[in-house]
């Protein structure tokens, strides 16, 4: 069984085997090139084609409807190779028969080795360098400033494509002579035959039984409406392709800046997220070593795959079949589903670990003083913890220290509230979560928060701490300082950092520290320093 193609030679329809077709078009191509530029070239070629049609016609009869490669070879032997046709010919023939007219090398786009439009390959041909280097330069320019894309498009428009064999030879800088033309046509033959294998499905039926004298044009793809629709579809696919490509690349840059810490694009200055997530955040956040080792891979795949596919789809829309990677869609879908399953597993283990919540009984601490004295709030600890990593995770800012073990240190919350009782007091609640009530309670009890009330002093720990092995499981410390009306509180200077850096927005008061504040019914208000106030007056 063989594939046949229907073709029109000199106005006659022929069914022709695809290998025979390839041979014939190769032959006609070499004739065309041979006679190119000569007086009456089109006429000569038309005459020869007409003779071919006549000879082929004579090979067909009732029981033989299809032209075979043997028929074609016979016809070619009869007509002769192009250079044989010249033996007796005109004075100018020396040019063509021996014809090595060394022509200048010219810059063309190379349609045979193209990735997009053949610009890089053409430039590579011109300068005799591997087109890969040209492509790398384009990509670097693209990533650097986006200029690569612009330059490419301009070159695409300016440089003509090498269409004929002569142009292709000129592009390669080979002399245009019969040998080279034959050589390059043979190369092309391989391509043509493989292309026909690909698209032969189209010509499968329908063209098998064409009557001998059918001269009407085949209505295959010439329908103008279909042509117009095709052009419109192409325009849309280019528009969407560009959009997909642009969005995909932008998002990859964005994701890359966050997850891989590409400094120039990074939105998170100072915080090296990849190191944090891998070394610190994942072990702290996730339950069990499996989750911890899975998390970077699974999360990476979950985010990267759709972005890659977005870019790929964009490229496909722009370039059609040339950019097809077989099976990529299926592999990507499979991997992405696997990543979703992985995330689901990680999420489930995490949820189980957060199931129960335990909150300690609120501990009440009274100040042993009265309204005539000023209360002082100061941090009870200096920053003696060596920070190795500082991280912010939602509203928790914390440090990992490695004094003996990994310890997590978190800012506690401090609220100052109004009370109707006679004396000031402070209350602290500590809470944590766990897979069971007991586990939550154990966690809460392991939180280190040595708050102290000493007559009129509140010694407020700068951080509450717990072992990193405990994971981040809703550990929270809230201290509320209750003041009756007209009580005055002084925040020590060493609280400045606490107020300035507190991730809770409501607590970012630049002037809380080193100032006196008085409780009123409306809340805490700035109270003029007693001593300074007096001296000024």
């Amino acid at each position: 069984m063989k594939k046949t193609i229907s073709t029109n030679i000199s106005g006659m329809m022929f069914n022709i085997d695809d290998d025979a077709f390839a041979r014939l078009s190769q032959y006609l191509g070499s004739i065309k090139i041979h006679f190119e530029g000569r007086d009456g070239q089109t006429e000569i070629i038309a005459d020869i084609e007409s003779r071919i049609a006549e000879l082929l016609q004579s090979h067909l009869h009732e029981n033989k409807q299809v032209i075979s490669i043997d028929d074609v070879n016979e016809v070619i032997a009869l007509l002769g190779q192009p250079f044989e046709m010249d033996v007796e010919d005109s004075p100018e023939d020396g040019n063509h028969a021996t014809g090595s007219s060394p022509r200048k090398k010219r810059l063309f786009r190379d349609p045979d080795n193209r990735k997009i439009a053949g610009v890089a390959s053409g430039i590579g041909m011109f300068f005799v360098i591997d087109p890969l280097w040209v492509r790398i330069i384009f990509i670097l320019l693209l990533l650097g400033s986006g200029a690569g894309l612009l330059i490419y498009i301009v070159l695409w428009v300016l440089i003509p494509e090498a269409r004929t064999t002569t142009e292709k030879l000129e592009m390669r800088g080979e002399p245009v002579n019969v040998n080279n033309i034959e050589k390059s046509i043979k190369e092309e033959y391989e391509k043509v035959s493989s292309k026909f294998n690909e698209y032969a499905g189209e010509a499968k039926d329908g063209f098998r039984r064409v009557s001998r004298h059918a001269r009407h044009t085949t209505g295959r793809i010439n329908d103008p409406i279909i042509e117009v629709l095709r052009v419109i579809a192409r325009v849309f696919s280019i528009i969407f392709g560009v959009i997909f490509l642009a969005f995909g690349l932008l998002l990859i840059l964005f994701a890359g800046s966050i997850f891989l810490g590409w400094d120039d694009f990074s939105l998170l200055t100072d915080l090296e997220l990849p190191a944090l997530t891998g070394e610190h955040l994942f072990p702290l956040l996730l339950s069990g070593p499996l989750s911890v080792s899975l998390a970077p891979i699974v999360l990476g795949a979950f985010i990267a795959i759709p972005l890659i596919m977005l870019v790929y789809t964009g490229m496909r829309l722009l370039m059609g079949e040339y950019f097809r990677i077989p099976g990529l869609g299926n592999v990507a879908t499979g991997l992405w589903i696997a990543s979703v399953v992985g995330l689901f597993y990680i999420g489930t283990t995490l949820t189980i670990d957060l199931k129960e919540k335990y909150t300690t009984k609120t501990e009440k601490m009274d100040f042993l003083t009265d309204s005539k004295h000023v209360l002082t709030v100061k941090l009870s600890e200096k920053n003696e913890v060596e920070k190795i990593k500082e991280m912010q995770f939602f509203d928790i800012r914390f440090w990992l220290s490695d004094q003996d073990e990994k310890t997590v240190s978190v800012y506690p919350n401090l609220y100052i509230e109004y009370t109707t009782s006679e004396f000031a007091f402070a209350e602290t609640t500590i809470s944590a979560q766990g897979s069971s009530y007991d586990k939550a309670k154990e966690r809460a009890e392991r939180i280190h928060f040595p708050i102290e009330v000493n007559q009129s002093h509140l010694n407020f720990p700068a951080w509450y701490r717990f072992d990193a092995k405990d994971n981040l499981r809703g550990q929270k410390v809230i201290t509320r300082l209750y003041l009756p009306e007209n009580w005055i509180v002084y925040f020590d200077k060493n609280m400045e950092e606490y107020f300035n850096n507190n991730p809770l927005q409501s607590w970012r008061h630049d002037n809380y520290a080193s100032n006196y504040w008085i409780m009123t019914k409306k809340g805490l208000q700035l109270h003029k320093p007693l001593t300074e106030n007096n001296s000024e007056k």
């Binding site: 004739i31 006429e43 005459d47 009869l78 002769g80 046709m85 007796e88």
Partner: protein, 107 residues
């Protein structure tokens, strides 16, 4: 040396028949073993036509593509006569020379 001979033969074939198309010319040329490949004919026909020595008309064919039927023009006829004369002179001269050569060898 054979330059121009093929043109002469083609003109002669066309002039002899009322009207001929390429296949007839090819048949006769091949019978006379004057050409090896058919492709040789077409550039020559085109050149002769462009020089105004030949003219042709189209005719539909029942069994193939439309055919070009060639005939010689007045100019063509005139050139043919000149060439024929010239050719005859050449043949005579060569014949004579060859036979003298032959005679000398015999002696």
């Amino acid at each position: 040396m054979r330059k121009g001979v093929l043109e002469l033969c083609i003109l002669a074939i066309i002039a002899r028949n009322e009207e001929v198309y390429a296949s007839n010319i090819l048949e006769q040329l091949k019978d006379a073993k004057l050409i090896v490949v058919e492709g040789t004919l077409y550039p020559l026909l085109t050149r002769l036509k462009n020089e105004g020595l030949l003219s042709y008309r189209w005719e539909e064919s029942k069994s193939g593509p439309p055919r070009k039927y060639y005939k010689t023009t007045c100019l063509g006829e005139r050139l043919l006569n000149e060439l024929t004369t010239g050719w005859q002179e050449l043949v005579d001269a060569v014949d004579k020379l060859m036979s003298e050569n032959y005679n000398q060898k015999e002696q």
